[in-house]
């Protein structure tokens, strides 16, 4: 078994007394892992720890086989790391090209020609080649997110940490983003946090569900979906026994609950159903299923 790219053990983090992460165990290998969870679950904190922006208060962290607490090893990690933060910060008056060029200098691309070629490559990969010379302040939210992604892709990093890369993107842009990420995932380890279960379903092999700083699920996507088998059914009305139900386009009600009543019309569960079920049960024992 090869060593995992990312390994966290017993990791905790507090901010002014409030617990952001608690007793977290995590192992990641090449491929795409999705991070799901409500706001305040600790997703961004976890991603920042993976991106060496924050230090964990306790526990051990190993990234790309190195310890981010040791300064020299941390620099090594950062050489093979790409991070897209939730909010893109950029110097005033900069165009996308100028900004990604700036980040490229910080990522040690000191030779001008190769650097400019690399900047063009990542901007083309996210579909911003034509408007690369437009000021970032004049770009839409979705376009800014892509600038953030472009700088994360510099140097084809082995560990790519993306905080909500699909927020603000329309369906077309999401589809092309998925394509870009799928290509990268063949050799690298990607961690993506998102609110959209469809993104995870379409893109990720593994999913981690986080809530209140703890892992509630960690395993293959299909395993999580399988948990909802037999627990999603259609009916003419919203069932009181169901955990959640909503009206479908065809007029009936889709119910998700602990168990379907006998003889109910069962349907194939989606990841969204499984996720809602999981959130609803709020199981206290953390079920970490490592593949």
């Amino acid at each position: 078994m090869s060593t995992p790219t990312v390994h966290l053990s017993g990791v905790g983090k507090r901010f002014r007394g409030a617990v952001a992460l608690e007793d977290l165990d995590l192992s990641l290998r090449p491929g795409i892992t999705g991070l799901l969870g409500p706001n305040g679950a600790g997703k961004t904190t976890l991603l920042r720890i993976l991106a060496t922006v924050l230090k964990a208060d306790n526990g051990t962290v190993s990234l790309l086989g190195r310890d981010p607490n040791a300064p020299d090893e941390r620099t090594d990690i950062r050489r093979r790391l790409g991070y897209q933060p939730q909010e893109l910060g950029f110097p005033r008056g900069f165009s996308s090209f100028a900004f990604v060029n700036y980040m490229a200098v910080l990522k040690e691309w000191s030779e001008t020609r190769t650097r400019q070629a690399e900047v063009r490559r990542v901007l083309a990969a996210v579909g911003l080649a034509d408007i690369a010379t437009k000021r970032i302040s004049r770009l839409s939210g979705g376009q800014r997110r892509r600038v953030g992604l472009a700088q994360a892709l510099l140097g084809a990093p082995d560990l790519l940490v993306l905080d909500e890369p699909t927020t603000g993107l329309d369906p077309e842009q999401r589809a092309s983003l998925r394509q870009v990420l799928a290509e990268i995932a063949t050799a690298s380890t990607l961690v993506i946090s998102t609110h959209q279960t469809e993104d995870v379903a379409a893109l990720c092999e593994r999913v981690i569900v986080l809530d209140e700083g703890r892992v509630h699920f960690d395993g293959p996507v299909k395993d999580l979906v399988a948990r909802a088998a037999g627990r999603v059914w259609l009916a003419d009305d919203a069932e009181p026994s169901a955990q959640t139900s909503w009206r479908t386009a065809s007029g009936g009600y889709r119910n998700v609950g602990a168990s379907a009543p006998a003889g109910a019309e069962l349907v194939e569960p989606t990841l969204e159903d499984a996720y809602l079920l999981l959130r609803g049960t709020r199981s206290s024992e953390s079920e970490a299923v490592t593949a």
């Binding site: 080649a129 034509d130 408007i131 010379t133 004049r138």
Partner: protein
């Protein structure tokens, strides 16, 4: 290829906003004819390349100033010829006065030239063909390329007064030919 290609004015406003794709399209449309026209005034390939580069960089930086007055192509040429003039100020470049020696075997071509000129300029073309090459060059630089006498002087490597005199004489000669022709 988009179904409805943008016209030059639209390209200019797009690229003044930072659209590199529009810039590239504009370049692909105009770089060829501009460089041919430039190379007929300066046969140093490197100088033409530099002037072409300077021209399009200037277009990028000043596209907002175009404001839709007149023809984009003419505006581009105006920038290009002035870049050439300012470069020739500082460099020793060989300028060719685009003309061929009279060649008997090309006499049929002369007739075709006249037909060409006839369609474009009518009698003016005939009158022009009667000017000497030196005077024609001055007329081309000032009237057709839109340069001032001073800029034309730099382009042709002549003193400004010579340019003024030749232009004056050329215009007089043309006027004479045209009035003669119409009577």
């Amino acid at each position: 290829m988009t179904a409805r290609a943008r016209d030059d004015g639209q390209l200019l406003s797009a690229l003044s906003d930072g659209d590199m794709g529009a810039m590239q399209t504009l370049y692909e449309r105009h770089a060829s004819w501009l460089s041919v026209r430039l190379s007929r005034r300066c046969n140093d390939r490197e100088v033409v390349a530099d002037v072409l580069q300077d021209t399009f960089v200037a277009v990028w930086r000043s596209a907002a100033r175009f404001r839709g007055e007149g023809d984009v192509a003419a505006w581009l040429w105006g920038i290009a010829i002035r870049r050439l003039v300012s470069r020739l100020q500082s460099r020793q470049a060989v300028i060719v006065m685009s003309d061929l020696p009279e060649d008997p075997s090309r006499s049929t071509l002369a007739a075709e030239e006249q037909v060409l000129m006839g369609i474009e300029y009518g009698d003016l073309g005939k009158a022009m063909s009667r000017l000497s090459p030196e005077m024609r060059a001055v007329v081309q630089a000032t009237v057709l390329d839109g340069l001032t006498t001073r800029e034309a002087a730099r382009l042709l490597g002549l003193p400004q007064n010579t340019v003024k005199t030749r232009l004056h004489r050329a215009k007089a000669q043309l006027r004479a030919s045209l009035t003669e022709g119409s009577s």
